[in-house]
């Protein structure tokens, strides 16, 4: 040891301040270069009519892109689809995840392995998940309808085409995507709720038993309030992600049929990277999505703090 100390004498001259700078600046530099700079660049592009494949320099057009977006009924339709998708999938995930957590809450033999197995969907690439669910949903040879008991394909739902027994049934495809999103992310809610459940002090339940409180009462007055903060964190995380959702839909429907599952992030990709490469308008749209996400997160956080203040 003493020999080592002598050999690295140069390091002795590094003050703590030098070490701090050496340790954190590479990280900060990369984050600024790859996140902060693009953020400002894309704000600038939002005010231009630039197209990445045109040979023209960006031309400043002021607020035109933004006003076009705000007046574009089609785009608001996509926002509404995204909102419906987020609402459905987040609420179902919360319910299913909470149920799962209550189910595996108490330890039993093999319970740990089962809990871990349930987490697998979350770890697979969403685009791959989307693809193999497309196979599950296939009306003629998929397992999904088969297990639901639809033997005859002509009288069964064709989920991803939004048709039921040959008749159009709008909303079915979006719901099919929601089912898969719930399949992937309910385990995430379960994980968070479980950690919340573990943190509830035993004496609360012991006191309830002493008072002969019913299990119903215990659930509403002890379990739920104690888990609520973590549940809200899960809802916040999932809502943000739902508004950014892209991979799953690309793997399953590509936005179809028609534009029934065209989420806003999918449409943004279409505008920015396919066809005419409408870089300027797409940047403006990206900013509007960002603002919507920030607004929603702030509402949640405000609500979260309020409920904490009351409790």
């Amino acid at each position: 040891m003493s020999a080592d100390k002598g050999s690295s004498g140069k390091n002795r001259h590094l003050s703590n301040r030098a070490i701090v700078n050496l340790f954190i600046w590479p990280t900060l530099f990369l984050l600024i270069a790859m996140n902060v700079f693009p953020l400002f660049y894309s704000l600038y592009l939002g005010f231009t009519n630039y197209s990445a494949i045109a040979r023209q320099a960006p031309v400043w057009v002021g607020f035109q892109n933004f006003s076009n977006i705000l007046n574009d009924k089609q785009l608001w339709e996509y926002f509404a689809t995204t909102g419906r998708y987020a609402l459905m999938s987040v609420s179902l995930q919360t319910l299913v995840g909470f149920g799962l957590a209550m189910l595996v809450r108490e330890k039993f033999k093999g319970g740990g392995i089962l809990t871990t197995l349930i987490l697998i969907p979350m770890m697979i690439s969403p685009v791959v998940v989307g693809l193999f669910w497309k196979l599950m949903y296939n009306p003629t040879f998929g397992f999904f309808n088969f297990l639901l008991g639809f033997g005859n394909p002509s009288k069964a739902p064709d989920w991803l085409a939004s048709r039921f027994a040959g008749q159009p049934m709008p909303g079915l495809a979006l719901f099919a995507v929601v089912i898969v999103d719930v399949w992937i992310w309910a385990p995430f809610v379960m994980l968070l709720v479980l950690s919340g459940l573990k943190a509830i002090p035993d004496y609360l339940y012991e006191a309830a038993v002493v008072d002969r409180a019913s299990s119903w009462f215990q659930f509403w007055r002890i379990t739920l309030p104690q888990v609520a903060p973590l549940l809200l964190i899960a809802v916040l995380f999932r809502t943000i992600e739902a508004f950014k959702s892209f991979d799953l839909v690309m793997g399953m429907t590509g936005g179809g049929p028609g534009s029934q599952t065209e989420l806003i992030a999918v449409n943004l990709y279409r505008q920015a990277f396919l066809g005419q490469f409408r870089t300027g308008p797409a940047s403006a749209l990206a900013y509007i999505i960002l603002i919507v996400i920030i607004a929603i997160s702030n509402l949640y956080i405000k609500y979260l703090n309020q409920s904490k203040g009351e409790g």
């Binding site: 349930i118 690439s125 397992f143 385990p187 994980l191 950690s195 964190i233 793997g251």
Partner: protein
């Protein structure tokens, strides 16, 4: 937990989990709960099971209604996934069938479908790209994250909380917002469709996560160990490398694997910023076309190949999963 509210003893029970007095109803409740859990887990895992089955089905078995649970397993899916084949003309087919002795297993499998193998498919190269890009970016983000996490954990830094929040907030940005400018920047630098472009992007993408997760692990290492080492004449750097690093090994391993999963599964950036040379596997699984539509067995085989490492990792990391999926914000 036993419930005594209906039939329990008259006096208050202070020990709710006395094993000698578990009410029969509680025992029943437990068995029902276990059974229910098993059923739910089976339902949750059924799609995965379907994927595994599909990977080993022949093309005919996949598209026959109703879906088959029992079938003769074949490696066709893997053949379609990894090789580029062409259909043999009847004359060549007869010639090839005449002396099958020289062919290896895969060639025979192709021959039984009237095809010959021309060479490896695009997918092989893309899998290699995935490994190089995900591997390199993971190593970089863990190393950079480790240094930053140590500095944030141990030193007084002006505006520390704000900096940490800034690092976290970068992860909340929708990827598409930064992709457009990065696409243009990369175009200027000639980085579109290159390894370096995706490696740097994935490194940054994982960096915020790696800093937060590792900071949590390093915070748990008692600072007294380093102080003792410093008193013994170690320099700060020596203390970091000899004392802190060995203690943080589990945390580093967990972080590495989480970063690897993110980079390995990433789809959107790869789709937008690569096309041919540096394209990774996830965007190319989606375009696995066979004759007459999607080649399901190849897609399932590719997905299975993606699933196996992930399943292993899920088991190895089960104690850290909560930390991992919540950026280290919530601990067990």
């Amino acid at each position: 937990m036993a419930h005594f509210e209906d039939t329990g003893p008259r006096t208050p029970v202070v020990e709710p989990t006395r094993v000698d007095k578990v009410h029969p109803r509680a025992k029943w409740g437990k068995s029902i709960r276990v059974l229910l859990t098993v059923i739910v887990a089976f339902i949750m895992l059924f799609p995965v099971l379907v994927m595994v089955m599909t990977a080993f089905k022949s093309r005919a078995d996949i598209v026959t209604p109703p879906p088959k649970v029992f079938f003769r397993p074949t490696l066709e899916g893997f053949l379609y996934l990894f090789t580029d084949r062409s259909v043999l003309s009847p004359a060549n087919l007869d010639a090839a069938r005449a002396n099958p002795g020289k062919l290896d297993y895969w060639q025979q499998l192709a021959l039984s479908n009237g095809q010959q193998i021309n060479g490896p498919s695009d997918y092989v190269g893309r899998l290699k790209n995935s490994m190089i890009i995900a591997g390199t970016s993971t190593i970089l983000s863990v190393i950079l994250g480790l240094f930053a996490a140590y500095a944030f954990s141990r030193f007084k830094i002006a505006g520390k909380d704000d900096l940490l929040f800034f690092i976290l907030s970068t992860r909340m940005l929708p990827g598409v917002v930064v992709t457009i400018p990065l696409f243009l920047l990369y175009k200027q630098l000639g980085w579109n469709d290159t390894y370096i472009g995706l490696i740097i992007l994935y490194t940054v993408f994982n960096l915020s996560f790696s800093v937060w997760l590792l900071k949590g692990f390093i915070d748990e290492i008692p600072i007294e160990y380093e102080e003792a080492a410093l008193v013994d004449g170690y320099t700060r750097l020596q203390a970091f490398f000899r004392i802190v690093l060995p203690q943080a090994v589990t945390g580093i391993a967990a972080t590495t694997v989480f970063c690897l999963i993110f980079a390995w599964n990433e789809y959107a950036f790869a789709l937008m910023l690569t096309s041919e040379r540096a394209r990774t596997a996830p965007p190319s699984i989606a375009t696995m076309l066979g004759s007459g539509g999607l080649e399901w067995s190849a897609i399932a085989a590719g997905s299975l190949g993606f699933l196996i490492p992930v399943a292993i990792v899920t088991f190895t990391l089960r104690d850290y999963l909560l930390r991992g999926v919540t950026f280290g914000a919530v601990r067990k």
